[in-house]
Symmetry: C2
């Protein structure tokens, strides 16, 4: 395989945020342009849901500290790691050693890259979930691992994510080295049950499989559901990394901040990789961690209430339409929506939506090759604009329904 | 090879900025503690040489733009790429297409990582210079390339860097895929002659070798020397990436900003890799590029004059001492200093310097295994403190001289 072939598998033209590089070309355009506030569902809208109050002030304090903040250890400034380790420990209900078990990264994407790069050798079998965050698959491909997809029958249940635990055990038995998954799941917004989490932990321990769990959205849980932190269970895999960050619910994405914590030996390898990847998470930006897990009273609660209300109003619209399916989001800001069969491919439908309805969504096959009739939305948007945009999506879909 | 063995080769304990993780242990400590202002020569002091005026204000403007600045294309916001492409084009004397040929990255380290990762396949022969930036070697090892070191006899000449061009051609003939080098060279501060640059370009073209040139310090050239930009020569390799950024002379390191420009197909692969590495260079931080190449009148000139003066005063001290050698820095803020043979290893000497003289330097073997008697300093420091620290280094060296 050449480097060109290798990178052909890592396409980003349909990835969230890259839509401006597409062209509409030769698509069969039906209907008229529908006016309305443009909505980019490919990511959350930090204008509708602004960052934690005081974040910019914390950043400026960092800049004013000068060299001591500009240059930190590669794993992040010690006082910030100490503060974060304490706050995250309280959140997850397990101890984190700030010296050995935590690293600050450029976004949670950076954390995921480091965790994967610090564990995957060429040819290693890597298990991942379908559907799940699109970068998981791409990272395995980039690091020359062997893809072992595990299905999640997320539409079948309401009391569990629907992970195929039998298939997971078979995969682990067959020599899988690493299992990576997001919880809440991206793109479906389901959360794993107590039994699923304990089973993953137990199987990881039993078969010596390293586990990476991406908990980016674990602070935004709806309907007072119980969220299970794998890292605070009794029986744990020997090698476990948990990833979290303030980019989503807390809207700090523009600062590119992430955190990984867990097994000290892996954190150490991640630091070595970070040293050649970007040296460190931007020095001044690290100061912006200050307000995280320390938001004003009621701020997080209100944010969750608002997102739950947007979710409900969108689902109300979608569920009036024959052939549209979507499981109710349990955590995070995503909805994974199945459309009826149309006269147009999903990739072209996505382009038509942008051109005719000023709406951007992410095609389902970014999350697994079988999700050809699906798209994902991030509903962390202006409430009214989001619901109106959903109505426009439905209208355009009807033009193409088979 | 296991992942643990692979990462053992990527040690960072002696890397610049990581010294706080060392312990002094069982070293033969001689003499008394010498008092003086602590100086960390492992990197520049952004308190002594602060960032470009107006940088924080540009950052804040970016934050105020909200979502449009937080989420950009993975290769960077178009208007910023357009502005930078024009400014860098004027600097290098060659055209850069802002659509296809430039990417914004988390630091120049990020640019280097992406450029190497977008070109190296397992087993590829990669040529690099000894001595040169320590990450070059580590990146080749991380991406499972085969190391092909090319010697630079930098102490022999004053009118050229001293690259062994014959060995370079032999290496290219033997199937090298990629050649990476820094100009001005890190750690020696020498710049490549017109003949050396043209030879590299010509050999790259002739043998189809991809060239990556790291020009991080190319704006800080001393003694009115002529600096040759490889990318603006007539004959060029088919695949060429140039890296530059505002972290050094311009003191913007705390914002982690870098730029790579060159062959469109490589930039495209780098964007794909960036999409899974950190998604993008921090959105708000991209706004801080605004003042770069647009500094107040005379600001850059004055900065160069000040650095040249520090260099001269340090060299004056070093050259009074029998057995110490250092070639005069031609560009950038580094001096690579050879000490006489001592009763102590350089790694231990570095630890003693920290403990007894409050001075941090970087051991030479970070830049090539043969540089056991060398250390590197970054003299972008408070002028007086730097010269005093050099005197302390000399004093401690005398305690251990054989």
């Amino acid at each position: 395989m050449s480097i060109i072939q290798k990178f052909e598998k890592l396409g980003v033209d349909n990835a969230p945020g890259q839509e401006c590089r597409q062209n509409v070309g030769e698509i069969d355009i039906r209907g008229e342009k529908i006016s309305g506030t443009p909505v980019d569902f490919s990511h959350g809208d930090v204008d509708a849901f602004p960052p934690i109050p005081g974040t910019l002030e914390s950043f400026i304090e960092g800049v004013c500290m000068g060299g001591k903040q500009a240059y930190t250890e590669y794993r992040g400034k010690q006082s910030i790691r100490e503060d974060l380790a304490a706050k995250i420990s309280a959140f997850i209900g397990a101890k984190i050693d700030f010296e050995q078990e935590i690293i600050l990264t450029p976004g949670t994407q950076g954390a995921l890259f480091l965790a994967m790069g610090a564990n995957i050798m060429s040819g290693d079998k890597i298990a991942f979930v379908e559907p799940d965050y699109f970068a998981n698959r791409k990272l395995v491909e980039f690091f020359d691992g062997e893809l072992v997809p595990i299905q999640m029958e997320y539409t079948k249940f309401t009391d569990r994510a629907g992970l195929d635990l039998k298939a997971l055990e078979e995969a682990f038995k067959s020599g899988v080295k690493l299992f990576v998954f997001s919880n809440p799941n991206n793109p479906t917004g389901v959360i794993y049950s107590y039994n699923e989490i304990c089973s993953i932990a137990k199987l990881g321990k039993e078969y010596g499989v390293t586990v990476i769990v991406d908990q980016l959205y674990s602070r935004q849980i709806f309907d007072n559901r119980t969220y299970i932190h794998l890292c605070s269970q009794k029986m744990l895999p020997d090698n476990l990394i948990t990833i979290i960050g303030p980019s989503k619910t807390e809207s700090l994405s523009g600062y590119r901040l992430g955190v990984a914590f867990g097994t000290a030996a892996i954190i150490e390898r991640m630091e070595k990789l970070q040293a050649i990847m970007a040296l460190r998470c931007s020095g001044y930006n690290q100061a912006a961690f200050k307000g995280w897990f320390n938001e004003p009273d009621g701020w997080m609660k209100e944010r969750i209430v608002q997102h739950q209300a947007i979710r409900d109003d969108i689902l109300k619209e979608l569920r009036t339409v024959r052939g549209i399916e979507a499981r109710t989001t349990e955590g995070g800001s995503y909805l994974f929506v199945k459309l009826p069969v149309m006269d147009i491919s999903m990739h072209d439908f996505v382009k038509v939506l942008r051109a005719q309805a000023s709406v951007t969504v992410t095609p389902g096959i970014e999350f697994g090759p079988q999700f050809v009739n699906w798209f994902r939305i991030n509903f962390s948007q202006d409430h009214k604009a989001a619901v109106d945009a959903i109505k426009r999506i439905i209208k355009v879909m009807e033009w193409y329904r088979k």
